[in-house]
């Protein structure tokens, strides 16, 4: 897959302090990129640089292989964004806002507006000024506005803020649909892993302005996150059984009493049976799940992410 967006050593300093530090991001065409990090990690600043609102101190952004400059206004036609908080001309109605948006974007498909509103399930808003909307409604309207012009890259900064659980579920469906049916590429930021782990194809983890890791979810998911943990006082005997009787190689001795078996060719029952046959006394034998959350907590040092 080709990269739709790539940043190289992207850096932004404010008064000598690096808000974003040498970020190398690669967003592939058609994927959902989850941009994960605690509050104040620099997610919004990166997104603002991508949308030309903030100018990088150093580094480059490439969009569709083309280098972005201060005057790359044309590129903005191919993006749809919500940055920070969905803002509207709030004395106007939702429809007036969307019409204005179309005019400014140079996009004149009248049907698109209705479709977008339907997509985010925003109804009964006829003549109310946006001022009277709840945050959840504004969030939906913001998504409708961003999607309306059928952008190739959809940038959503914390799009799930202010939505109720049902709304979150609905929006997840919408994101998935936009990605799969419309082939849009989505860049979604969040400080909550749970929000994006289910839909993201790639996750980029940022902390204190540094992109710690950029990893495909498939790799993490496929990375043997399930294992069987056995606790025994006779671990050397158990290792012998694992190695020679069961011919297993993919296991790890964690400490003198704990062994983790990552091999998924053997079931818990078979393992138990084999060990008992050899008369090895087991204190416990259980299936464990090394969750994604652990993975990211590890990465980010624990505070304020999950």
């Amino acid at each position: 897959m080709t990269n739709i967006l790539r940043t190289q050593n992207l850096t932004k300093t404010y008064q000598g302090k690096e808000a974003v530090n040498s970020v190398n991001m690669n967003i592939k065409q058609g994927e959902i990129y989850g941009f994960l990090g605690p509050n104040g990690a620099g997610k919004t600043t990166v997104m603002k640089m991508i949308t030309n609102l903030v100018k990088p101190t150093y580094g480059e952004i490439e969009f569709f292989g083309e280098k972005m400059t201060e005057r790359s206004y044309e590129m903005l036609k191919r993006m749809g964004c919500i940055i920070e908080y969905p803002v509207f001309y709030d004395k106007l109605t939702a429809k007036e806002n969307l019409i204005l948006h179309g005019e400014y974007m140079g996009y004149y498909d009248k049907q698109a507006m209705g479709e977008a509103l339907e997509l985010v399930k925003l109804t009964g808003i006829d003549n109310k000024p946006v001022k009277q909307f709840s945050l959840g409604m504004k969030q939906r309207l913001g998504i409708a506005r961003a999607v309306m012009t059928k952008p190739e890259l959809l940038i959503l900064d914390e799009p799930i803020n202010g939505l109720d659980p049902l709304g979150i579920k609905e929006m997840r469906e919408v994101f998935r649909m936009l990605s799969q049916e419309y082939g849009m590429t989505l860049l979604i930021s969040s400080h909550l892993l749970a929000e994006i782990e289910q839909i993201a194809d790639t996750i980029g983890v940022i902390r204190e302005g540094v992109l710690l890791e950029e990893v495909a979810m498939q790799t993490i998911r496929g990375g043997n996150t399930e294992y069987i943990e056995l606790i025994t006082n006779e671990s050397s005997k158990a290792v012998y059984v694992l190695e020679h009787k069961l011919k297993l190689t993919n296991f790890k001795v964690m400490d003198p009493r704990t062994i983790r078996v990552y091999d998924d060719s053997i079931s818990q029952r078979e393992l138990n049976k084999a060990l008992v046959m050899e008369d090895i006394e087991l204190e416990s034998l259980s299936k464990m799940n090394h969750s994604l959350e652990d993975y990211f907590l590890n990465l980010i040092g624990g505070d304020g992410i999950a």
Binding site: L53, V54, Y73, M79, I83, Y89, L100, M105
Partner: protein, 230 residues
């Protein structure tokens, strides 16, 4: 550019401001009638000639519309920053320079046109009334009229330029009150003085201030392309 101007007008519902313009003009008219025709009991009348009457009118009208310009600047520029809708605006595939220029053109033309219209219409009404009551002595000649018209035109251009100066102060902290207060101070500065002498009447002062206004407008556009929107 015309399209951008039209969008701004629609977006900010600027048609509504015309009502304010009407009320302001009526107030100026009422006040002028009061001081020119009604308040004539005093021994020495303030307005002894048409030139004096027009002079007074111009000061009023210009002051009013310079403040109007500040209100427009607040609505079009300052509030856009305050409400953060500027992030929205600057994410559109349109050069920032053009977007801001469209706004400033609206303010400039609004001030210019309204000053010219108000001065001619209210001046005309005053002359009409005087035709019946004959309070202001003297005749209105064609040559006088043409001199006045030129004055109306040029001073309106100056005032429209001056009207942009409050943008400079308002933009520093993105504050609406600052913008309006700057306009009020500016107005009291240029219309201050006594009898014959008025700061705003000195062509040099007007021109300087007008040029400053244009300069402010230019500065606010010049830096806009590279500025971070936080």
């Amino acid at each position: 550019m015309l399209k951008l101007i039209a969008l701004e007008i629609r977006k900010n519902k600027l048609a509504g401001i015309l009502k304010g313009v009407l009320y302001a003009n009526l107030a100026i008219l009422a006040f002028m009638i009061l001081v020119v025709f009604i308040d004539q009991s005093e021994a020495d009348s303030t307005f002894v000639s048409y030139a004096d009457v027009f002079e007074g009118l111009y000061v009023f009208v210009k002051s009013t519309y310079i403040i109007f310009a500040a209100i427009l600047l607040s609505k079009l520029v300052i509030e856009e920053y305050k409400n953060n809708t500027i992030t929205l605006l600057f994410m559109y595939p349109i050069s920032r320079k053009k977007l801001i220029t469209a706004k400033l053109i609206i303010v400039f033309l609004f001030t210019l046109v309204n000053i010219v219209v108000a001065e001619i219409v209210i001046g005309g009404i005053l002359v009409g009334i005087n035709h019946y009551v004959n309070v202001v002595p003297g005749q209105l000649t064609w040559s006088m009229l043409s001199v006045e018209l030129v004055k109306v035109g040029t001073s309106a251009v100056y005032a429209a330029g001056i009207g942009l100066i409050p943008l400079f102060f308002g933009m520093r902290k993105k504050s609406v009150p600052t913008t309006i207060v700057a306009a009020v101070l500016l107005v009291s500065l240029i219309s201050s003085g006594f009898d014959e002498f008025r700061l705003g009447n000195m062509a040099a002062v007007s021109i300087v201030l007008a040029v400053v206004g244009m300069g402010v407008a230019y500065l606010s556009i010049r830096k806009i392309e590279t500025a971070d929107i936080d």
